[in-house]
């Protein structure tokens, strides 16, 4: 990597191949010396035309399609879809099913946050933390597999309820797993709030004030780390969150450290919720019959995915195939904040700022940033940018 002369202005297109982020996306940053002056993003690499595809599949087939919008948050997509279609059909899934749905949603949040912790640590050059968090995450994967038969794409939801049950033995396995994870999470919280090298890359970096977060439309943990008290589980409760309310996790500081702290504290909240649900699992049926044709109408279903608010608009024309399904994923809301935030920051901080929103690009595809009117472009891979950030801070410390 050549060093850049201080006065030269160049654009840095990043992507689309990122061994670390494992998602093809394309950013374009305009840099003057070290400072980002413009940022843009372009999606498209994972755009599969899913919304259109739902119009050619029946309600049951669409469940399997929508589950696969995102491998990390597959369950929450299926849950939003099922709740929406059930609302249209005037069908209520039985209480045991709603409880199990909620429990799996929290397990998914745990796996997603631990996955993110590892990826974010990797971005900062802390591969030990990456390895440990992903090793610990295997505990959740084991539980999900024991419950559903698959580690990823658990497919617990069906229209009308769930297809897997939790017996006492599995409940005990889950509790043991949570006990282990709780200890480990305590350790992670300590590391990220006290390790000097880590704090150098997170404390006071990428600050987004509450006002900025509000204006830019930040959702989920990213918004909560700037003090935006918005969590769909709390403000529009669904499934079993009515019986088991969430305690919202907020942080007023709005920097990268806050984004780490919020997600880790949310893990504790998820452990608590799961234990509570297990202790209070309603008896009864796992599902009810759903009609093949769904009554005409429109419904809106909002749920809290690990990354923030997931919004589904579902329209039925009375047939066995939907008229229209609109999926608005959380990352697209948070993407605007990254693009604005990056400006004024050092290029070396960009990887952490991007990963700080926990971007799920397959949820809303890729963003490519194209800077109009630049002639001299340097093409960097994400790996190169990541290393640039790590080296930059290593040099500063030596």
């Amino acid at each position: 990597m050549q060093a850049q002369p201080k006065t030269e202005r160049f654009t840095v297109p990043i992507g689309p191949q990122h061994p670390a982020l494992k998602e093809p996306e394309h950013f374009l940053f305009t840099v003057e010396g070290e400072i980002v002056t413009q940022a843009a993003v372009r999606l498209g690499y994972a755009h599969r035309g899913i919304e259109k595809a739902t119009e050619a599949r029946n309600w049951v087939q669409n469940l399997y399609l929508l589950e696969r919008i995102c491998g990390i948050c597959s369950h929450i997509h299926a849950l939003a879809y099922c709740l929406g279609v059930e609302a249209l059909a005037d069908v209520e899934a039985p209480p045991r099913a709603q409880a199990i749905r909620t429990l799996v949603a929290e397990l998914e949040r745990i796996h997603s946050h631990l996955l993110w912790l590892g990826v974010a640590a990797h971005e900062a050059g802390f591969d030990t933390l990456f390895m440990y968090s992903w090793r610990d995450r295997e505990t959740v994967m084991d539980v999900l597999e024991a419950l559903s038969g698959n580690r990823v794409n658990y497919s617990a939801n069906i229209l009308g309820g769930v297809k897997c049950d939790i017996d006492e033995e599995l409940a005990d396995t889950i509790r043991e797993g949570l006990d282990f994870l709780e200890k480990r999470t305590g350790h992670y919280l300590e590391v990220i709030t006290s390790d000097a090298a880590f704090l150098q890359r997170t404390r006071g970096i990428g600050v987004m004030t509450e006002l900025q977060a509000e204006v830019l439309g930040a959702v989920g943990p990213t918004g909560r780390a700037s003090g935006i008290a918005r969590d769909i589980r709390l403000e529009a409760p669904y499934a079993a969150y009515l019986d088991h309310p969430v305690k919202i996790v907020l942080d007023p500081r709005g920097d990268l450290e806050a984004r780490f702290v919020v997600r880790i504290k949310e893990l504790f909240e998820s452990y608590r919720l799961i234990r509570q649900i297990l202790d209070d699992l309603p008896p009864g049926e796992l599902n009810v019959r759903m009609p093949r044709r769904i009554k005409e109408g429109e419904t809106i279903c909002r749920v809290e995915a690990p990354r923030g608010e997931l919004f589904y608009f579902i329209k039925s024309n009375g047939s066995d195939t939907p008229e229209r399904i609109k999926v608005r994923t959380p990352t697209i809301c948070n993407m605007t904040s990254v693009v604005k935030l990056a400006v004024g920051h050092q290029l070396a901080d960009v990887p952490m700022i991007v990963v700080g929103i926990d971007p799920c690009f397959s949820c809303n595809d890729r963003m490519v940033v194209i800077d109009p009117g630049r002639e001299e472009k340097q093409h960097w891979t994400w790996e190169a940018l990541r290393r640039y950030g790590i080296e930059y801070y290593r040099e500063r410390n030596s």
């Binding site: 498209g44 994972a46 755009h47 996955l115 992903w134 794409n153 397959s362």
Partner: protein, 171 residues
């Protein structure tokens, strides 16, 4: 003299094949997947599965890779990138398609922006089915491919290394 040289060529071939089989440098490319397969590939590197003990290293650049692991149904946007990256990898190169989408398009078959599988765009040497395949299945696929490299080539096919060595000796 000639028979010694030929014997040495064979040994070299075998060493090269073994080295390639035992220390392949792998490049991962996501052609538009949901990330389910990608996170299981990454999980294969983490302590529980530890792909590195087979000598497999994940590289960041096509120029250093021997094996391309590809996920996703290949979107129209990713297609060109995939072809370019495949082109940048030096021969001999191998391609492993991981997951239902990479095999055939999976649930996204017939979607307007989807090519429908990696072999619609580049030749594939190994297919690992699953949605997603678990890390053990992915490792199994990689190891099967590597083992097939150490097996002696069929008699009637020319051996690439022999041609190269021949060329070097003659010049």
């Amino acid at each position: 003299m000639k028979s010694n040289a030929k014997a040495w060529q064979n040994v070299l071939s075998q060493v090269k094949t073994w080295a390639r089989a035992n220390s392949p440098w792998v490049l991962h490319f996501n052609s538009g997947s949901c990330n389910g397969c990608d996170i299981e590939i990454l999980a294969a590197l983490t302590p529980r599965y530890d792909l590195e003990r087979f000598g497999i290293k994940l590289m960041g650049s096509p120029r250093h890779a021997d094996v391309l692991i590809c996920t996703g149904a290949v979107t129209r946007q990713a297609r060109e990138r995939l072809e370019r990256i495949h082109g940048q990898i030096h021969e001999p190169k191998f391609v492993i398609a991981v997951g239902s989408c990479a095999l055939s398009g999976g649930v996204f078959q017939n979607c307007y922006n989807v090519m429908g599988g990696v072999d619609k765009v580049i030749p594939v040497d190994a297919y690992v089915p699953g949605c997603p395949p678990r890390p053990e299945a992915i490792i199994d696929g990689v190891v099967k491919l590597l083992s097939s490299l150490t097996a002696p080539p069929p008699e009637h096919l020319p051996h690439k290394e022999d041609d190269m060595e021949q060329g070097n000796r003659d010049s």
